[in-house]
Amino acid sequence: MVEIGHFALVLALALGLVQMTVPLIGARLRDERMMAVAGPVTLAGFAFTALSFAILTMAYARSDFSLQNVWENSHSLKPMLYKITGVWGNHEGSMLLWVLILTFFGALVAIFGRNLPTTLRATVLAVQGSVGVAFFLFILITSNPFTRLSPAPVEGRDLNPILQDIGLAIHPPLLYLGYVGFSVSFAFSVAALIEGRIDAAWARWVRPWTLVAWVFLTGGIAMGSYWAYYELGWGGFWFWDPVENASFMPWLAGTALLHSAIVMEKRSALKIWTLLLAILTFSLSLLGTFLVRSGVLTSVHAFATDPSRGVFILCILMLFIGGSLALFALRASSLTQGGLFQPISREGALVLNNLFLTTATATVFIGTLYPLLVEALSGDKISVGPPFFNLTFIPLMVPLLLLVPFGPLLAWKRGDALAAAQRLMFAFAAALVAAMVTAFLIDGSSAIAAFGVGLAVWLMIGSLTDLAVKAGLGNVKPSVAWRRFVGLPRSVFGTALAHLGLGLTVLGLVGAICFGTESVLTMKPEQITELSGKRVRFDNVVPVQGPNYTDERAHFSLLGPAGEVRREIWSSRRFYPVRQMNTTEAGIATLGFSQLYISIGETTESGLVVRLWWKPFVTLIWGGGLVMMAGGTLSLLDRRLRVGAPARRSRKSAAKPAVEAA
């Protein structure tokens, strides 16, 4: 049974080899029959990869410990949800999920790309196929999940307890859909370079696919951040950890790509730049895969370290990044230039956005890779921490955020900055008031906090101003304005919503960082402590037996003014006997947008060690991410994108793998 999964994987590799060669040669020779091979082969490759994945999942569900991979990462007592999510809670399985999603996107291009020029479609699928082949080889040679054990052990070694959480069901599939989703715009870019021309169909296709990937990556990062927040028990949501940066770099580059693709689609300018960005974005995705999977970093994500894997991924990385950039260097000059525009214009604003975002990507890149480089060259170990990123990334982000509301208000080709500024007067006034009120409330103790709140309000009101201006609010009768408002293209709403989400995230960050409070103390039962006006009583500790762990569950009560219990909070330390490991399950009470966060340590002579945090507006950090995703999705539904490019259908199906993978 299990061998079928292995064979299916080998067959998928063989199909991938056909997919990367035959259509490509066909496209060169203009041979219709050879190009027609691309579609069916891509679909079959996806089917076999899915079969292979399904069989591995089945082995996990049945706790088939004759498979080394299942034995190492599963346990018969583990709840079914974690048996299934455990499939990608390890190196081999997560690589299989990676190629499954890659072939899935290939299949989507094959299905929805029927109206593409045949040579372009064939070339795109061939490029996708070549990426697939590299990773199939990687899995089969260095990380085969179907390796057998003989004799089969009776019991498994269990999954890392930190990963036994609902977060594992959501975070990796979303993240991979984002990472790997950028392979489509990469394949389109490489295909355009091979063909030596960028036509209208190409320009129309890149933006929706980038948008799909971006929406998923946004979700994956936000989910990962929230998971780390509640699972690690440190009360932090972003650590500038190299693994986080690995997913953040493609996001930054992808955001830049999203914006430059607008210019290309609407004004057919910035074509070459967009193409380069598409290549860089997927290259950063590959780099992220390398950093996380090769074992050069130690983290909860680096499941196993095996030098041969690192070298293999490094080779894949050099082949694709080097190859595509070399192709770019050779062919980019043959591509046609686009339209002209004034520096102050929508295009100009989007170029500025791109400059900021790519520079920010570069600083994150340096901060992430510099320590590795120094270690490789001199053997010195340095660790670049949050102070580095605060000093480089934030100064680059603040001006960008200040400029965001201007962009959508500028006209294409030649904009009027003064008119845009006038329209933003209200947003500016609101931001100023918000900043002053904040400064007043905190007695001017933190200028940064006041500025941060003002910035967030500026972003939020500024993005809504765009909608008001486009509807003509104040210039025409309210009924007319409403009709216009309803009739605005969905992409306009999408933009406003995404920028609004950004503002919400900024507000959440400022709230949690500048206004958060914490305290550490030892508590005896019935003792009451106070944090930022919240009175919390520690009641008792109850032992609880879980399916594959024992729980030491501490009960806390959030007290109201009269001493009544407003909210019960459970915070616990779990012990997983199979791996002899403890995990922390933080107790969180959400009050409005804010959270009270409690994690517990050991019981000492003077009582239980308790750490409490009060985090104002913290949920907005991830809520803003969800709003950004909604904005991206809305933009995908735009009517304009549906004409000629069936992005609507492709978006619907893009939601599938999350279901499938689960």
Partner: protein
């Protein structure tokens, strides 16, 4: 604006950004990159009180002592040199004697190391890699399978 002017503007704009980013990066790396030290490195290194560093090593056997109100003191050693560390907070789940640990913080005026974060990896046979590599270099590495 002609194509040529536009190109010049883009190049200068790009260079300005590149320059700003480089400047920021160098300033940040020069000042704020927090460096990693083992207790033995501190003998020769010039680490000022208040300077933020990462200190790694092994938690010395029998050195963990709990003070009042969630304060813990322990000694970090590379077997040659030892540094006393105090920390107020919740220790990571895998913090224990004779296990690898990385603490982050700075030396107080009295010469003791005050940590504001303590890291130990989430795996049983684990030692932070920075620590493991340094110990291997010094020939002190033992695999505790």
């Amino acid at each position: 604006m002609t194509r040529k002017q536009k190109r010049i503007a883009v190049i200068f704009g790009g260079l300005a950004f590149l320059g700003a980013a480089t400047a920021l990066t160098f300033v940040a790396l020069g000042q704020k990159a927090s460096y990693f030290y083992m207790p033995g490195d501190l003998v020769s290194a010039d680490v000022q009180p208040g300077q933020r560093i990462r200190l790694g090593g092994i938690v010395e056997k029998g050195s963990i002592a709990r003070g009042q109100d969630a304060t813990v003191t322990f000694a970090v050693t590379d077997t040659a040199e030892t540094v006393n560390v105090s920390y107020k907070g919740i220790l990571p789940d895998l913090f224990r004697e004779e296990q690898g640990v990385i603490t982050e913080g700075s030396f107080g005026p009295d010469g003791g190391f005050v940590a504001d974060s303590v890291l130990a990896k989430h795996d049983e046979n684990y030692m932070p890699r920075e620590v493991a590599d340094s110990l291997k270099e010094k020939g002190l590495w033992q695999h505790n399978e």
